[in-house]
């Protein structure tokens, strides 16, 4: 019996969530008193994973698995799960894993708990806590099948160092057909993505127009943060759709979320609730966002942000 963790990578590099799922898988394996097996596909340096408790690492290197493809990756994961007799498979909630896990669930006839936020509260019945109703609640879900798949929500468990010795072996996977051909990939390079960011700086209609975003970008740069926006801002075309966060946009689960000139509508809050610390900057002391915030500044963004940038620069330099 084993717990199988899939440590996802992009262009050979692990995402932070890969370290988080390995940390998590280690604990689940301890709870179940079974072995931990970590699988990586086309990662450059798998040995990094030992730091988070990986003992047995299986690597698959194959050019036809690049870029990511859900069906092919699912086929590899299924083969490894069968060979290692995995009873629990853990994946992160990266875009890739969200496509992959449901297919693996069908392949293994396994119950799948997506958006899981903590360690199993019981292993018999096997129960996990998951996000539901767009972050407005949690469900305690029992997985009733023999095999189980857990999708771990980002930044819900954390990265825990737990150095272990171990082995790295090559796994000879059979490559399935994908049915999909990748024609091209456009990635914004040199920018922190919302999915990966520890800090997100987000601005709303209070900014008045797209010409006022340079200060938001500068603030983001000082904090090594990703930029985001409210829905009307992307609907108005002030910012790209990829920056729209909220219930109908991208979810944000960063450590720090700074909301500038955003009122805090329920649909916006639903998407950013999972962020740990929220700072709100708004001229209106009655803005609903203050009720959901940890720290707040009642003030005009056009005065507060330039000052905050200067002060943060001084702080970083000190």
């Amino acid at each position: 019996m084993s717990v199988l963790v899939f440590a996802d990578s992009t262009e050979g590099k692990f995402k932070k969530t890969a370290f988080e799922v390995v940390s998590y898988g280690k604990k689940v394996a301890e709870q179940l008193e079974s072995n931990l097996v970590v699988l990586t596909i086309n990662a450059t340096d798998a040995s990094e994973l030992h730091k988070y408790g990986a003992t047995k690492i299986l690597t698959v290197a194959n050019d036809s698995l690049s870029p990511f493809n859900a069906k092919q990756y699912a086929a590899v994961l299924t083969q490894v799960a069968n060979k290692e007799n995995a009873t629990v498979v853990v994946v992160d909630s990266s875009i890739d894993s969200l496509y992959l896990a449901p297919i693996v669930a069908v392949n293994l006839e396994a119950g799948y708990a997506s958006n899981t936020v903590a360690l199993p509260t019981s292993t018999s019945p096997f129960t996990v806590k998951r996000k539901a109703f767009s972050n407005k609640a949690f469900s305690n879900t029992v997985i009733t099948t023999d095999k189980k798949i857990i999708g771990l929500a980002k930044n819900s468990f954390g990265i825990h160092e737990n150095p272990a010795e171990g082995t790295t072996e090559n796994f000879d996977a059979e490559i399935a057909t994908s049915g999909i051909k990748s024609e091209s990939i456009e990635r914004v390079t040199g920018k922190v993505t919302i999915a990966d960011a520890d800090t997100v700086v987000s601005a709303g209609r209070g900014l008045k127009g797209p010409e006022n975003w340079p200060m938001i970008e500068e603030l983001a740069e000082v904090l090594n943060a990703a930029t985001a926006c409210s829905k009307p801002v992307s609907d108005l075309g002030w910012r790209p759709h990829s920056e729209h966060v909220g219930q109908t946009g991208k979810p944000v689960a960063s450590n720090l979320y700074i909301a500038i000139g955003i009122s805090g509508a329920i649909q916006h809050l639903a998407g950013i609730n999972a962020s740990k610390v929220k700072v709100v900057i708004n001229t209106d002391p009655e803005a609903p966002f203050f009720k959901a915030a940890d720290y707040g500044v009642v003030g005009d963004a056009f005065e507060v942000i330039p000052q905050l940038i200067e002060k943060l620069k001084a702080f970083k330099a000190a």
């Binding site: 069906k71 990266s94 449901p102 069908v106 305690n140 520890d198």
Partner: protein
Amino acid sequence: MKILVCISHVPDTTSKINFTNNDAEFDKNGVQFVINPYDEFCLTRAMWFKEKQGATVTVVNVGGTETEPTLRKALAIGADDAIRVNTNPADGFLVAKELAAVVKNGGYDLVLAGKESADYNGQMVPGMLASLTDFNFINGCVAMEVEGTSVTAKREIDGGNQTVTTNLPLVVGGQKGIVEEKDLRIPNMRGIMMARKKPLQVLEPTGAAASTSISSFEKPVPKGAVKLVDADNLDELINLLHNEAKVI
């Protein structure tokens, strides 16, 4: 082209979420149910294929009689007919298995579903359905064109977009971008009148089993009050973020 659009019936985005029966059940009291926002984008795209390329559009829901008004709304937007699979959608796997039976029996070429539903946020039905039917699969789809049986689509990936080509039959998990917000359709009077006469077929379930069950719900622990910092004292904000919250 025969298109099937999967419609999940979810609480309106402004709904307050409460539970009853010892936190074991979602409290539907006073909650307004709507077509899942992502499914609305897919349905509008399907209407486009119907108008421009002569596709037929069927909408389907797995659920009890209470979901019929939602299906009627989809008919009013312009779908040709509707199917309701008469069973409790206990979990994503069960829903996917019931939908797979509908897809196989109906001979659909293109199945459009949302990337996630706003109630249980499973993010699993489209992938499971693709796997169960052995159709091709594109998730996070933000644009698509079909010509004959060839499909060109754009999907969202971390930090960008990927353009892919594939063939029908295909399952798509769609989101905003597959059509734009401003192009979403609102049912008009004529549509609503016509929808009353359109066929809504009720199918008995195949009896697929669920693989998960919900034992209880919880609400997030209420937050402490916000700490307000004076706009003239931003050093204090930096101090709090550094020393107290430890996030910078």
